[in-house]
Structure formats: structure tokens, C-alpha cells
Subunit: 706 residues, 2 copies
């Protein structure tokens, strides 16, 4: 009976939601008309385009086959080719000329779905790729079958640079992970993949000129040059530019494993964390220690360093056809340089007041090399200085007037100085923040400026690996994609979440592993324990925010900081965004606003279910160390859901709470809020508090780093 | 309350099962002693081996890190290297000499777990690789933590050739799928990966000598030579040999897209199914039509054909270092040759009585080329003839005295003639047969013979693609791995299933996608319908057996036969083996044998649950065409579980069934047995019938092909 009601409620929800397109990113202009274009087995594509467009036709074929799979309609066409010109084809594609993926190219398109058929038109290939993705997002189902709603879309991006930076150095992410990320990026119209290819923990690309880089610096985990070419080709076919970062002068321990002569301090070196630790010891590391650590840093005073970099950059620039080349340049505290008398002497002779002057010198030497080989240099904002050449792109990541490290100029200041800017500040996915924080990114300019190129979501991988990287990146990166594509005025958070969970399902269907990684992760942690009960609890958990989780590892022992340490706690395998909590929140919101009995019923069903499963959890987790870590959250959940049910009764009966009861509930809420056992938090506390206060408590505007 | 009981039952089951090692394949000799070797953070490995063994150390590192992840213990060691020699290390590895993967090499190893520590010793690298896999399978957990049971294992394989043939031609399977399959093969000690690289539907490897093979013959889906090298290297690191098949003279439509001059009939050709069909038409194809079809076949009468093959084989032989080269040679009905007057004339001049003589001529010409380049030729059994040179390996796939096509000699006959044999008869995974059929394979010799090399599981991919290939291959291939490794006397089916579902969990944990593919498949088919209800039903379904599902597609319309057609019905995304049904069967068996009240309670709980969810299914599937396909099975389930509960009552009360009630139940069972709606069957019917008959009905010994 309870199930029956639940199912009924679900069906109603689905029908309500299905009414409106759930595009992500929101197009710059869209008109929706009543009516539906229904798909059937006769669905086919005709194309007017350059017959030599080797990006367009395969993309159309993929989209067609994907719609075929999703609808199960058994379409007639096989491959879409230049000879497909039937005027009766329901989907007509018009592309004026072929184009290569390129930052700043025209990416506009028009998509019209009418009862008569569908038309996608664009100036070039890139716009058509976006139009095809939009069409795939439009697919909906009702009780009759699959259809597209009738729309008239004119679309183009707000910013030309819509990227993701993926750190494949801290933990290597193999080809399949990268290719799936590229698919997901294309689905949300992102066009730049920034590969963070080297860091202390690893040098992740094959050099034929300096093979010890990967042979000694990667523990066997790196991309071969063939794989890089494959990745670039795969991205190109999806409208995406791939460009490399070789992070220098800091973050370079792995380089020195093969070439210790490049370092400011004598070796030997093996790839590993930035700070010097011995995994055999119970060393603990504080944040302050990390910041002050004289971490391995390149020696910028030797000419042989630049001979090496010249040859390496030349090789890598030939490998990556993109016009951009990122040299890192972040987080060099200068401590290693100060420890080396020869370097101190060099600075003295050159009248360099501090390490930042030496850093500027190093940057300018790199600039000369990069420029010689015809590329535009990019670097993290620490490369910014008054002398920085105007054609260098500054990659922002620090916040203005806050945090432990000082900003090297606001976007407006950098742009005014004449440099172009890409922004990752506020787009760090590895901080476990909810999507709305990135979406409303208060560090992201609301105005436009021709020197603002756009931004990049950033996924660092100290505690992410092949088993959870997609779970960390998706679907939240889609909110960033929208911030970079859609007009600045698009910022309704509730509507964003509705669409975010929708795109999450689409990405799942397209083979991206973010949902599977959660399911597999919990399943294998369960190891024969009652999966359904465990899932009911973990569906309501979210990792602690900021760098709390990272430093919780650091505060244990050295071995917890090593790249080989297990990334396999509950906090590692759960998504940041709890869809269950989101649904609960929407129900609470609706109930508080409208007293809708349906919402009340839903809340009651959810609370009763949680009350039931939370009671079981402790026995289910028994003898399983990793499941037991969250026992106290299950206990909190039990208490809060019991209280939630009683609050509901209370609201209904209209009797005000007795003071001491109120205090008891508030105490339980406050205690639960402080619980970070297992590096996770219970996600639905604010909604219980909202019920108590009879007013939806707004989401926090920001979260602390530690 | 109901949940509480269920959880309790689960805990008890787990504890019972955890007692005994669940190795697969079963070692040739194993003694188990009471006691446990407990793992803790001090777990480490020391190695005595050739310091240059570039297979061993990375394999040890992977195994160590895998144990680290699975236990979550944060081990201290990072990479395992030749300098790891600590005598206090709990795991001591001794390998006398390094070796390359090779069919027929010594693969024996000794694994001793005592309270004092663990020791793996082997003559060479290959044995050590197997020992490491066995150790990983031994890992168990109790309420205190993780441990290895105390064992003394002496192990070596029954056959040197333990392979899987994967058809990457009908549907291309990209690199990630192949690499995961290689991981899974290594986990169950398989050592040969046979790549079926070409067929009518596609030519799947890059040729630099004849690039139109992949350019016109693959729709862009093929392995580059770099990828092949990567795959071979990845397999080598896991003790596996990779060898190619280029299927000729039939199954070769894709070759002719680029090189029509090779064909017996004029083109043009595009890659596609064997028979000539137009996907735009509603053509239906019968089995007889497929068999008689003059399908595209190479012209064996032209010298230019052999010039082409010489150059191509030379290129491919250089690419694949393995000593074996498979030329296919199967299923050539000669019809295309008979249609070509020039070929008929050639046969007349050469006094060839029928196409099989011409086929023998073609085979002998191929043999000359393969031999010239130093390889051992392998071919499907149709290449067998009295004249076949003795160094050719014959690949059996047809059954003796049965089926539509006649066998070309029994293994004993072929072996007696002096040829070596590998056997795939009875090992065809694409027939959706339960694992025990392959395990007890009645076509597989129970005796040994030095000319019996072993066998290969075979996964053809007419209706499997990247989204379900692992689901089709695993875990069933593990039963075949055991047949090929373990002594012939090991054949307890119940014990095999206990271990099979255990290895299924291990493979899931190691990243193989067979469980995820089911979950993702159902989730995306659900498309917002109530997943839990749908899963409860699909957990009890299994695809129809033999080629029924394939020909059910063929009988619809031409477009259902194309490689681009959706492979996304419920029957495509469910596993062949229903673990839920297996548990039910074990409960029924135990209950009928012992009247154990715990088993009775379990049966009752399962039936009550099915009764409940099956009632909901039709409303949940409403408006979802692919879910609705199995509505009638949900109805059958509802009736059968209701009847099952009443039979239980009846057994308990001891009152005999009334004749008319008995008939009603039997009629319902018989009707449900005949239901193949949606190309699936309800899996738990025999168990309901067993309850009715108060006697476990044995599993069928075989299944029909159509």
C-alpha cells in the first residue's frame, strides 16, 4: 500500500516535470510552443554541408544512433553521410562551412522543432555540434512515446573558453576516463580540455626526447604519445580543444626522479607528495607545514634547465596542435630556492629582491621558448607581474581578499592591464561544494569584457582516481558549463537543480560513469551487507566541504597522503549532490509555501522510510569498518526523522511547540550539524530545521575551506 | 520487522558461506586448515626474483594496491620492487626465473598461508601471476576484519590453452572493454585472447598496407596499430597471449568495401550482415535463408588474392608477436563461388568436385603464407581435411552428430590424425546458456590427450556491444576457465555456482562492468519509472536460450539485423544467470531435503516480496514500451508466487492437494514456461514446480538452438 502511494506520487511528479524542456546550458534564446514532434521509425536525417566535413557526419551518426538506442525505435538509416539529402527527412541539418574546434570561433546555431519537422542551421560545424546536443537534451517521453517539444532556439555562448582542467598527475586517469569526460563535456557544450600533465606525484605523458620523465616519474602510469593523439582526435570530433599544462617551477618532484640535475636541491627523488614524508612513518602534516614546505622546485638559475625545457616544450608543442601551452607557475613559495646558496647568490647578482622576482625571471624565460614555437602561453595567476607580456593568458584561481594565499590581481585588474583571463576561482570541483555555489560563483564577473575569455572547472585529484573522478566532476561541472555559456541573467537555482538532475540522467544514459561509480562504490564497500539499507543512508550523505576531507587524511599518518592509499571510504564514493535530499527539500519548500497535502504526504513517506532504515543501519554495518564510520549519522537520521514526523503532526494540529521540546529538537539539529564522522555530513538537516521554523532556510552562501 | 528478519537471515547466510574458500578455478590440490591469517596495516611483500622481471613487480604492485583498496587498511609499501627483501614481510614471493606468457609454459605455483605468513613460490613469472590471483580470491572478512584462511595449495592447469574468443567485428568493442576483459581473464587464470578482427560487419584493425580495409570497412570503428600494441602489452603484463583472426574466405563483406576485386561477385559493397538486405525494407530473414545465402566470399582462384593476403598477413604477423594466426575458414557454403562462372571453370580445370575442394585449396595457399612468416596456423574446423598439414591447429565449434551443420571430425579423430585441437563447442557464451551447461560441457573430452590444447569461450557479438559485452561474458566465462584449468573430476554444480557468484562480486570490485552494465541498462530503460520494482522483476528474468533471441530480431524486419540497431531491450541488459533465482533454488532445495524452518522462512519472504512487486509492475511499466514487453512475466510471477505460498501452507498442514487445484497450478506453471514475451523467460518456474512436486527438479541437460 505504502509502495503504491509512492509509485503514484512518482508518476505525478514525473508528469509535472516532463512538461518543460530541461536544457543545460540554457540557450541564449528559446521560445516553447504547445505541441509535440513525435519520433517514429521513419526518423531520419538529411544534411546540407561540406561533403568533406569529417567532424559533422560522424557526429550526426553518433547522435542518430544514440536517439535510436534511447527510444528503441529501430530507425532505418545506418551511417549519416553527405549523400543523405532527402527533403522528407524529419531532421534537416544546414551547415554553411566546415570548421575546426577553436576558442573564439562562431559557435551559434538555430534549432527549430515544429510539427512539420526539425531544422538545425549553423554557420559552421561547431554550431551544428551544439545544436545536435541541444536536440538530444530535448528528447522526452509521455505515455504515447518519445517526442521533442516544439521550440525555436537561437543560441550562442557568452564566453568562448568553457573548459575543464583535469589533474591526471596526482592520480593518473586512463584513456577511458578521459574519453568519457570528453563525451560529457560535449553534451554540455564545453570546448576546452586542460590536461594538468605533471605534478609532484607524476609525469603523465611520454617524452621521446627525455624518456626518464615518464620512466622514472610515473610508476608506469602515463599517456603514450599515440594515446595523446587519440585523445586529441576524439576531442576534435566533439568540438573540443585539448591543451597541456607542464607545471613549473614548483609541483615538479616527479621530473627530478629521472633528471635530478633540474632541481634546486640534490636528489635522489621519487614521485610523491609535495612535502617530504616517509610513508613508513606516522608523520602528520599540518596545513601550515604544507604551505611552508621547501617542496621540490626547478633550479631556474642554470642555463641547462632552459636547454632541457626548450627541447621538451618543442616536443610537446608538436604533440598538441592547440594554440595554448600552460606552464603552471602556481604555489611556488620560494623555500627551496632560499635553501640553495648558489641560487641565493644568483638572485643577489641579478639584484632580485625575493623569490617572486626569480619566479618572474623563470616565467619570462619560459615565455621566450613557448613563443619561439608559436604558442600562446597560459599560466596560473602567480605568473602575473607588471612585466608580464600582454599576450600571456592569466589563469585565475585565488579569491580576492580572502583565503590563505593572496590573489595576484582581480580579473578586472588583469584585463585592464591588457592580459586575457580565464577563471577557475569558485570552480574547484575538488572542494565538494554543492553545484549552486559554482553556479552563482561570486568570484565570477557578471559583466562582460573582451579580455575575459571564460573559465575552467578544476578537478584536482589528491583524493580522486579512476574509480571516482567522473563522480566528482559530473554532474556539477554542468552547472559551470551553464555559467560560462548562458546569459549572466540565468541564475534561478531551483530551476538549475531541476535541470542538473536531468542532465545527470542523460549523462548516465550516454555511458558516463558518475552514477555507476557511486553504485559500484557502495556495493563493493557493502561486501554482502544489506545494500538497500546502506543505500538509503548513503543517499542522504554528502562529503565534508572544502579541504576538510583532504586534511583529515593528512592528519592521520603519512601513508594516508600517498597516491597509492585507498580512496575508498564512503565519503569517496558518494556524490556531492544528494538527489534524495533535493527532492525532500523541494517537498518541504512546497509544503511550507502552499500546505499542499501531496507534499505533506511525500515528506511523511520519506521521513517514515528514513526512520525505518536508520534503525537497521548499525546492525547492517556491524563488522564492516568503513560502513560503521557513518553509524552516528544513521543515529542522527533516526532522531531527526522521528522529530520531523512529530513536527509535521504539530503543524497539522496547530498546537505550538512546548519550549523544552523545541529546545530538544534544536539541540538534536545542532548536534547533527556538527557531526562529520567518516568525513561526511547528513544532507537533510536544514530541511528538518526548516520544518521546525516553518520557513525554508536558505542555502549557505559559502563554505569554509577547512 | 520484515526487514529485520531479512537482515538477520542475510547475516546468517553470509557467515555460513564465509567459512570456506571460494576459489575459481579450483586448484589442482588444496588443503584447508583451521585458523586465519589476519591482514593489518603492516601487510607487505618481499620478493626473491629476477630484478629485471618487468611483468612480476608491476603485477605484485597491482595486487598489493588492490588488497589495500579492498581492505581499506592503508598499507605502508608503495611500489613493489626488486629491492623489497624484508624477511619479516608477511607475503614472501619466490620466482626462480622470469618468463614471457606462452601457451605450454610451466604455470604451476605453490601458495601456503600459515599463521606465520604467506608464501607464493613458482618456477617462473607465469606461475607467480596465478598465485597472486589465487591469494586475492582468498581474501575474506569476518566481524573482526579481513583475513586469509590457512591453506596449502599446489596448483597447475589441466590444459595449456585457456582462451576467450571475442568478436570485435560484428560490434566493435573499444579499448576499455578489451582491457577490462583482460583483467577478468587474468583473475580466472585464462591465458589466450583470440581477437576475431574481421567479419562481414567490419574490419577492425588498421592496415597501413591496405588502408581501405579499415577506412571503408569499419565505419570508423577499428583498433589502430598503436592500440593493438597497447592491448598486447597490457595482456602480456597479465600473463595473456593475444592472437588475431582474419576470417576468410567467407565472412568477408567488409573487406570488399575497400577492395571489391577480392570478391567472388562484383560490388559495390558496404560493411553489413552476411546476407543481402536493405534496412529500408521490411525484409524478414529465415534461418534457412541465412544458411543458403550466397554471402560475400573471397575469390580464391585469382593469384592477385594471394598477393594481397601475403602482404596483409605479413603486416599483421609483424603486429602480433604471438606464434598463432587464425584464418577463420568457417561457414563458407560455397554458394557465392557456384554463382561465378570463372570460379566454376577454375574448379573444373583443377578437377575439384565441389566447393569444399576449392576451400581446401584456399586453406593450403593461406597455410603457405602463414608458414612462410613463421606462424602456426589456426582455423575453425571447416578447414579440416585429410590433407591438412599436421602443424595446423583445428578450432572445434560444431557438435558431433547434431545441429544444422555437420562436424568436421571429433576432437579424438582430429587428434588421432595428428593435429592439435582447441575446443569451443559447448563454450558459446552468446547462446545465453546457464553456466552449468558450459561447465559440464558434454562435448568436452573428459580424458586428456597431448593433442588437446584446451579451449576457448566464444562471445559473438551480433547482439552484444560495448554496453553489454562484459555482462554477456562474465561471470559465465569463469566456469569455462575452471573447466580448462581444474581437474576433470571437479564438477559439483552447486559448489560451482556458489563460487561463480563470489567471483562475480570480485570482478565487480576489480572494475569489470558486468554488474554495472545490468544496473545502468535497467536504470536507463526505466527512464524515471520505479527502479526498485522493475529490478525486483528483472532480477528474476533470463534471456531466451540458443539463437531464439537473434532470430526473433531477424523475423521482424531488415533494420533489426543491422549493426546499428538498438541492443537495448530488457533481454539485452539482464544477466543470463539470475542470482536471486539461484538463492531461491538453494532455499527450495534445502527446504525439500531438510524441512529447515529457516529455509521455509526465506522462501516465504521471497515469494511474498515477488507477490507484492509483481502486482505493481504493470502500472510502473505503463507508457514504457520496453518495460511493458515483460508485463506478462510479472503476471506469471504474481500467480506463481501466490501459488507457491499456498503450496507451502499445504505442505505444512499436510493436507494433500485436491486434484483440480493441482491441475490449476500445473497449468499455470506450464503456461508460464511457454511465455517468451520480450525474448525473456521467468527464471524461478522450476523451483515452484519443485515445491509442488516436493522434489527438486533437476536442471535440463541441454537447450535447443532455436
Amino acid at each position: 500500500m505504502k509502495r503504491n502511494i509512492l509509485t503514484l506520487l512518482l508518476i505525478i511528479t514525473v508528469q509535472v516535470v516532463l512538461g518543460q524542456p530541461a536544457l543545460m546550458p540554457v540557450p541564449s534564446s528559446m521560445k516553447v510552443s504547445p505541441g509535440k514532434y513525435r519520433l517514429d521509425a521513419q526518423f531520419r536525417i538529411a544534411v546540407q554541408a561540406d561533403p568533406k566535413d569529417d567532424i559533422l557526419y560522424p557526429a550526426l551518426t553518433r547522435a542518430y544512433q544514440s536517439l535510436n538506442r534511447r527510444t528503441g525505435l529501430y530507425f532505418r538509416q545506418q551511417q549519416i553521410t553527405a549523400s543523405d539529402k532527402r527533403s522528407d527527412a524529419p531532421l534537416q541539418i544546414n551547415v554553411s562551412k566546415k570548421a575546426e574546434p577553436e576558442v573564439g570561433a562562431d559557435e551559434s546555431y538555430t534549432l527549430i522543432v515544429s510539427e512539420a519537422g526539425i531544422k538545425i542551421s549553423s554557420l559552421n560545424t561547431l554550431g551544428a555540434l551544439h545544436g545536435i546536443e541541444t536536440l538530444q537534451q530535448l528528447l522526452q517521453r509521455d505515455s504515447t512515446g518519445y517526442y521533442f517539444p516544439l521550440v525555436d532556439i537561437q543560441d550562442s555562448p557568452r564566453f568562448p573558453w568553457r573548459g575543464i582542467m583535469i589533474d591526471v598527475a596526482r592520480h593518473f586517469l586512463p584513456m577511458d576516463v578521459m574519453l568519457r569526460n570528453i563525451n560529457a563535456m560535449a553534451a554540455v557544450k564545453m570546448n576546452v580540455l586542460h590536461l594538468h600533465l605533471s605534478d609532484d606525484e607524476g609525469f603523465r605523458v611520454e617524452s621521446k626526447v627525455y624518456p626518464l620523465l615518464q620512466e622514472k616519474g610515473s610508476n608506469g602510469q602515463y599517456f603514450t604519445q599515440s594515446q595523446i593523439k587519440e585523445m586529441i582526435g576524439y576531442a576534435r570530433a566533439r568540438g573540443i580543444v585539448v591543451y597541456p599544462e607542464f607545471d613549473l617551477p614548483g609541483h615538479s618532484r616527479s621530473w627530478f626522479a629521472g633528471y635530478p640535475e633540474l632541481a634546486s636541491a640534490p636528489g635522489p627523488y621519487v614521485p610523491g607528495p609535495r612535502f617530504d614524508i616517509d610513508p613508513e612513518k606516522d608523520t602528520k602534516i599540518s596545513i601550515a607545514a604544507v604551505m611552508a614546505s621547501p617542496s621540490p622546485t626547478i633550479d631556474p638559475t642554470k642555463e641547462s634547465t632552459y636547454t632541457f625545457l626548450d627541447k621538451l616544450f618543442k616536443e610537446m608543442i608538436a604533440l598538441f596542435p592547440s594554440p595554448y601551452f600552460h606552464i603552471g607557475a602556481d604555489e611556488n613559495n620560494g623555500a627551496a630556492w632560499k635553501n640553495n646558496p648558489a641560487i641565493v647568490e644568483f638572485m643577489k647578482q641579478k639584484k632580485m629582491a625575493d623569490p617572486s622576482a626569480l619566479q618572474a625571471y623563470f616565467v619570462s624565460r619560459c615565455y621566450t621558448i613557448v613563443k619561439k614555437y608559436g604558442k600562446t602561453m597560459v599560466g596560473w595567476e602567480e605568473l602575473n607581474s607588471p612585466e608580464l607580456p600582454k599576450d600571456v593568458i592569466v589563469h585565475k584561481w585565488l579569491e580576492e581578499g580572502g583565503g590563505m594565499m593572496k590573489s595576484h590581481g582581480s580579473p578586472a585588474q588583469i584585463a585592464a592591464k591588457g592580459n586575457r583571463v580565464i577563471i577557475s576561482t569558485g570552480f574547484y570541483l575538488d572542494r565538494f561544494l554543492p553545484a549552486y555555489i559554482h553556479y552563482l560563483n561570486e568570484n565570477f564577473p557578471s559583466e562582460n569584457n573582451s579580455n575575459y575569455l571564460g573559465g575552467e572547472a578544476a578537478q584536482w585529484t589528491e583524493i580522486a582516481d579512476r574509480n571516482n573522478a567522473e563522480l566528482r566532476i559530473w554532474p556539477r561541472a554542468a552547472a559551470i558549463a551553464e555559467r560560462l555559456w548562458s546569459p549572466a541573467s540565468v541564475k534561478d537555482v531551483d530551476d538549475m537543480y531541476r535541470r542538473l538532475f536531468n542532465i545527470n540522467k542523460l549523462l548516465d544514459e550516454q555511458g558516463i560513469q558518475q552514477v555507476s561509480q557511486y553504485e559500484t562504490g557502495i556495493r563493493t564497500l557493502c561486501d554482502r551487507s544489506d545494500l538497500a539499507t546502506v543505500r538509503s543512508i548513503t543517499d542522504l550523505l554528502t562529503p565534508v566541504k572544502g579541504y576538510k576531507k583532504l586534511f583529515s587524511r593528512f592528519s592521520k599518518s603519512a601513508v594516508h597522503m600517498m597516491p597509492t592509499s585507498p580512496i575508498k571510504q564512503i565519503s569517496d564514493v558518494i556524490p556531492v549532490e544528494s538527489e534524495t535530499r533535493y527532492e525532500f527539500r523541494m517537498n518541504v519548500k512546497d509544503y511550507l509555501e502552499t500546505k499542499n497535502p501531496l507534499s505533506e504526504q511525500r515528506i511523511r513517506t520519506q521521513l517514515a522510510r528514513w526512520q525505518e532504515v536508520s534503525k537497521l543501519y548499525t546492525s547492517v554495518s556491524q563488522g564492516n569498518a568503513r560502513l560503521s564510520e557513518v553509524n552516528s549519522h544513521a543515529e542522527d537520521l533516526n532522531l531527526l526523522s522521528t522529530m520531523g514526523l512529530s513536527i509535521l503532526e504539530n503543524i497539522k494540529s496547530g498546537t505550538p511547540y512546548r519550549e523544552e521540546d523545541l529546545k530538544k529538537v534544536q539541540d538534536a539539529i545542532d548536534k547533527a550539524k556538527k557531526n562529520t564522522s567518516g568525513d561526511v555530513e547528513l544532507a537533510m538537516i536544514p530541511e528538518i530545521e526548516s520544518l521546525l521554523k516553518k520557513k525554508l532556510i536558505p542555502e549557505p552562501k559559502q563554505f569554509g575551506l577547512f
